[in-house]
Each structure stands twice: as structure tokens, then as C-alpha cells.
């Protein structure tokens, strides 16, 4: 069949030089519509170019033959056999099939009785008769069968098989073969074919629908006709699918109701899809939306909190690092320092060679304590720094007071640092710490002086209160050093009086102020000097 149609098609197609598409097309043609071949067939089934064929047509046939040779390679024996079957005249086979179908007996099913087959066979040619007789036949036979056996009739599986045979009995054998041939050939040839055919352009489709010949010349009309006609008739779901996809994507990606509303606003039909999808997805969308809503606020609070921790964290690290760098010995010394011993004692008694176990034990607790202290100190330092910037310090009594001038404190600290042999170098952060310490000192001193003056029944702080305070300090230091300077206490007495300290530390004009009120000062001096103590005073001032 295919070969028969080729000569006819080949001549007009020679210009297009696309024989393969022609071959496929010929296969698709119905057998009845085909004309008898004008050209002769070779013994192998190949067409011989008709005598009327132009040189182009001959070239086309040559290419066809070469392609066939390439396509039907020996390893495709199965398809080759199919091709041969197809090559055999179809009408003959159809006629043979019809002739044989009347004579051949269909396969006897389990349910069907032998009596059915003769009734069916002659009537298969006509569908109407088959339907009537099949219905009648089984009924009669069913009566007969009832007597014989009820069991084989029970299974209804056999009935649909019979119906199929009845309805499609005529076309079954030839149809399958033809369909298989066409499909196989189509797939085989489609490997190379369709690209050229489409690249050819509209020409490929001319044969498909002759009515559109006019359209091809007017591209605009063609486009419009194809677009509108197909979309309206065949591919309305395309738009729907696209819309649905867009809607689903928007839904999946962004679950916010605002986007949904936007989608509805944009397109009317899409809105329907958009609405329907969320309704179905209600549970899922709600679950998806909630975590997002919760997550965003959950992130913000840590952001607010983190900076504070970040501020604290490096300080802790710095402290811990310094501890680590300092080593065990320092920590051990610090522990004793915490117990209230003076640094000199620490230096003398505590040499770097300490029992490591004790130091390690102490370090753990000490580090934690110091860290806690550092935390508190940090906070207070910050508050103090902020207050210092504002220049407004308020005591616990609610009285505003100025802060000591940093320059004065620095000068004092540098002078004392030089005397203590530290080269007078003080880092700025150390100055801040010293300022904080001095502030605390004055706060503590004010409270103590207040307590002394109130105890004395006065509302004014006198030098006596201050000297009492100093004597207490001197006493404390004297108790610490008593073991060392027991013998030297009274000798040093004269130099450890507050006046002696003042003469050593204070400038002359301030000493004059101290001396100006002779009675008061003399009293204080007597009291201070008369006090049994001040042995360590000299050491503290000197060292």
C-alpha cells in the first residue's frame, strides 16, 4: 500500500525533497482511498521509478531506498517481518480473513456451550444480526445448560469476552495487524521524519488539511485561525492549566492571603482557581502560614537580646582569657587577696610554687565569683559612665553631686604609680576603673562619716570623724602587721599620726589649713597619736 501511493505522491513532492514525510503520510492513508499503483513493483517489493518520473523524482526514490536500507537493518528482523506482512496485499488478506472467519470456529470459552459457535459464526458479518442472535442464543442454550450444569454458567467472566467477540469480530484480525504496522512504521520513521517536515514549514501540513491551503499564503490568517480555532476547540485546558499552575505556585511559595487577593484582582477566571485551590488546601495553608507568622516575631526578640549578650560576652571572654594566660599562681594569690590579706603578705608568703591542687580548687570558685563581680561592675560602670556623660550624679539621699575631675585623679594615680614603681603608665580603661573606684570610695566614706557624726549627735562632719575613720583603717592595717612590727609600733607612732601623713602627702597650703585651727587639730592629733596603734601606717605610706 505504502509503495503503491509513493509514485503518486513522489512526483509532486520532489520539489520539497522530503520523501520521508511522504512515506509516513502514505501509511496514514486509508486503504480504500488509495489508488492502484501505476509504477511497477520490483521483485523485492521496491518501487521502480516510473518512466514518467523526473530526475528529481528518481533522486528522491534513491534516497528513499537508501533510507529504507538504513532503517530496516537486519537486527530489526521483527519489524522487517512486519513490513513484509504489511507489504502483502491488504485486500487479499482482508478477503481471506473474512472468508476464513466464517469457517473458522472461535475459541470455545468455558461458559459458552458448543452450540453457540455455529450460531455466531455465520452471523458475524452483520453486527445487527449478531446482537439479536447472541442475546437469543445464549438464552436458549442457558435452558439446556441448566439441565446439564449450573456451575459453568455462574462465572460471568466469560460473558464480556463473548460480547467483545461479537462486537469486533469482523475487524479484529486485520485491524490489529494494520494498526501495528502503521504504528511501528510511524514510530520508526518519526525518528528522522518530523523535523524536516516541520522545518519545511506549512508545506508539510498542506496535505493534512487541504482546506487551509488558502491560509498558508496569508500567514496572519493562518496564525489567527490556528491560534483561535485550536485554543477554543482543542486547547482551552492549556490556559486553565497555566493559570492553575501559577496559582499553585503562588500558593505554595507565598501563603500570605494578600497574594491570593492580588491574584484574584488580576484575573477573573484565575480568581476562581485561586479560590478553589486554597479552599481545598485550607488545612495545609493554615499550617504553613502559622509557622511563618510565628517565626518572624520569634526572630526579632533574639535580635533585641543578642546585642546585650554580645556586649557582655567579649568581656567575659577577655576575663577568662586573662585568667588562663595569668596561670594558676596568680589565681591562688588572688584567692588569698580576697581573704583580706595585704598584698605584701601575698607577695612574701605566696610564691609561685603553690600546691597546685589547692589553687585549682580555688580557681574554679574564684573565677565564677570574679565573673559575677565583673558583671555587676560592668553594669555599674556603664551606669556611671552614662551618668558621667550627663554630669549628673545622684546619691542615695537624692542629692545631686559633681564627679571628681578626671585630670586630678589621673595625676594622683600617676604620682602614686611612680612611687610604687609602675612607671606611671596607666591605661585609659584603667583610669575609668580608678574613677569608678574613687566614686565608690567617696560613697562609702560619706556613709561612714555620716554614721560617725550621727553617732556623735552631730549633723556636721568634723575632722574628728574623719580621723576616727582613718584610725580605724590604721587599726585594721596595724592588726594585719602586728605580727611583724610588734616591737616597732611605738617608735613609729610619731610618724604615723594623721598630721604626719598629711604633711607627707598634702601640700603646704592644705597643711596650713589643717594647722589653722590649732585646738581641734591638736586634739585630733593627740587622739590619733595617743591611740595605741599605728604601726602599719608608716609601711603603707612608705611602700
Amino acid at each position: 500500500m505504502a509503495r503503491e501511493s509513493r509514485p503518486l505522491d513522489a512526483t509532486p513532492r520532489a520539489a520539497s525533497a522530503d520523501p520521508v514525510s511522504n512515506f509516513r503520510r502514505s501509511l496514514l492513508q486509508t486503504p480504500g482511498s488509495q489508488r492502484r499503483p501505476q509504477g511497477g513493483l520490483s521483485a523485492s517489493g521496491r518501487k521502480i521509478a516510473p518512466p514518467t518520473a523526473t530526475p528529481h523524482a528518481r533522486a528522491a526514490f534513491r534516497t528513499i531506498d537508501s533510507r529504507r536500507a538504513a532503517i530496516f537493518t537486519p537486527h530489526r528482523a521483527r519489524r522487517k517481518s512486519v513490513r513484509e506482512a504489511r507489504d502483502s496485499p491488504r485486500d487479499l488478506l482482508l478477503g481471506l480473513g473474512r472468508v476464513l472467519a466464517k469457517k473458522t470456529e472461535p475459541i470455545v470459552t468455558s461458559s459458552s456451550s458448543p452450540g453457540d459457535t455455529p450460531n455466531h459464526n455465520p452471523n458475524r458479518s452483520d453486527d445487527d444480526d449478531d446482537s439479536h442472535q447472541t442475546t437469543l442464543g445464549p438464552l436458549h442454550m442457558s435452558y439446556d445448560d441448566d439441565d446439564d450444569a449450573d456451575i459453568p454458567k455462574r462465572p460471568r467472566l466469560s460473558l464480556p469476552i463473548d460480547r467483545e467477540d461479537d462486537s469486533g469480530s469482523d475487524d479484529l484480525v486485520p485491524h490489529r495487524s494494520v494498526l501495528l504496522d502503521n504504528e511501528d512504521n510511524f514510530t520508526m520513521q518519526s525518528v528522522e521524519m518530523p523535523r524536516r517536515a516541520y522545518s519545511e514549514g506549512p508545506g508539510g501540513r498542506l496535505s493534512m488539511n487541504s482546506t487551509r491551503m488558502s491560509d498558508f499564503f496569508n500567514t496572519n490568517d493562518m496564525l489567527h485561525s490556528e491560534d483561535f480555532g485550536r485554543e477554543s476547540g482543542m486547547f482551552p485546558p492549556i490556559n486553565v492549566m497555566e493559570e492553575e499552575e501559577e496559582g499553585t505556585f503562588s500558593m505554595a511559595d507565598i501563603m500570605s492571603p494578600e497574594r491570593l487577593e492580588d491574584g484574584r484582582r488580576e484575573t477573573g477566571h484565575e480568581s476562581d482557581f485561586g479560590i478553589h485551590v486554597p479552599v481545598d488546601m485550607d488545612d495545609q495553608t493554615s499550617f504553613v502560614i502559622n509557622p511563618e507568622v510565628q517565626s518572624s516575631p520569634a526572630r526579632q526578640p533574639p535580635d533585641l537580646d543578642e546585642p546585650e549578650y554580645n556586649d557582655f560576652a567579649p568581656m567575659e571572654d577577655a576575663r577568662s582569657d586573662s585568667y588562663d594566660g595569668g596561670g594558676m599562681d596568680n589565681d591562688g594569690v588572688d584567692n588569698f587577696g580576697d581573704f583580706g590579706d595585704l598584698p605584701d603578705m601575698d607577695m612574701d608568703d605566696e610564691d609561685p610554687d603553690n600546691a597546685p591542687n589547692e589553687t585549682t580548687r580555688m580557681t574554679a570558685g574564684n573565677v565564677t565569683e570574679t565573673e559575677v563581680l565583673t558583671h555587676a561592675q560592668r553594669a555599674e560602670l556603664r551606669a556611671a559612665a552614662a551618668a558621667r556623660k550627663k554630669r549628673i550624679n545622684i546619691s542615695k539621699h537624692g542629692i545631686e553631686y559633681p564627679s571628681l575631675p578626671a585630670a586630678m585623679v589621673k595625676r594622683l594615680a600617676q604620682n602614686f604609680a611612680k612611687t610604687s614603681g609602675a612607671k606611671g603608665r596607666i591605661a585609659p580603661d584603667a583610669m575609668n576603673a580608678i574613677m569608678q573606684a574613687s566614686e565608690w570610695f567617696f560613697e562609702q566614706l560619706g556613709e561612714d562619716l555620716e554614721a560617725y557624726s550621727k553617732h556623735a549627735g552631730r549633723n556636721t562632719i568634723n575632722e574628728s570623724d574623719v580621723i576616727t575613720l582613718m584610725r580605724r583603717y590604721v587599726l585594721a592595717s596595724a592588726f594585719v602587721y602586728c605580727t611583724i612590727y610588734v616591737t616597732g609600733q611605738r617608735q613609729i607612732n610619731s610618724q604615723t599620726t594623721p598630721f604626719a601623713l598629711a604633711s607627707r602627702h598634702l601640700p603646704r597650703e592644705l597643711l596650713q589649713d589643717l594647722r589653722m585651727p590649732p585646738p581641734v587639730l591638736s586634739k585630733k592629733r593627740r587622739k590619733a597619736s595617743g591611740g595605741a596603734v599605728p604601726a602599719g601606717e608608716e609601711d603603707v605610706s612608705v611602700t
Binding site: 594615680a413 566614706l445 574623719v466 585651727p517
Partner: protein, 77 residues
């Protein structure tokens, strides 16, 4: 030091007044400042010792903070 004022007397008086909620007698601030100088001396000395132990050059905030509590406790009435 000669032409320079050692410390602002009025400021010290105000500070002590504010903290003690009491009036300060005429020359008590001198003794107060003397006490403060002793405190500073103690603080800086111990801070320098601490810095030497820690292998630091000069006095740092760490050393000062480490000895502040002790110095304050030592000078508490």
C-alpha cells in the same frame, strides 16, 4: 604642684555632703582628701602589683578592678 591646686575642695565637699546627707565642717575635707589619697595610694600600689603578677605592662583596668574591692573593704569604717 606649686601653682596647681591639689584638689577642688568645693567638689570634694559636695560629694561628701551628697553621700552623707550631712554638712561638712570647714577643714574636714582636707582630712577626707587625705584619706582619699591614702586610698588611691593603696589602690594603685596593689594594682601595680597585680599588673606585675599578670605580666602586664603598666596598670590596666583588669588589675585595678581586681584590687578595688579589697581596697574599699580596707578603707571601710
Amino acid at each position: 604642684m606649686p601653682g596647681q591646686k591639689l584638689y577642688p575642695r568645693a567638689t570634694v565637699k559636695k560629694i561628701v555632703k551628697a553621700h552623707s546627707n550631712c554638712s561638712v565642717s570647714k577643714n574636714a575635707d582636707v582630712m577626707i582628701f587625705l584619706d582619699y589619697m591614702l586610698f588611691m595610694q593603696n589602690l594603685v600600689k596593689e594594682a601595680s602589683i597585680e599588673a606585675k603578677k599578670g605580666g602586664e605592662r603598666g596598670i590596666t583596668a583588669r588589675s585595678v578592678k581586681k584590687v578595688t574591692a579589697d581596697s574599699l573593704a580596707k578603707f571601710k569604717g
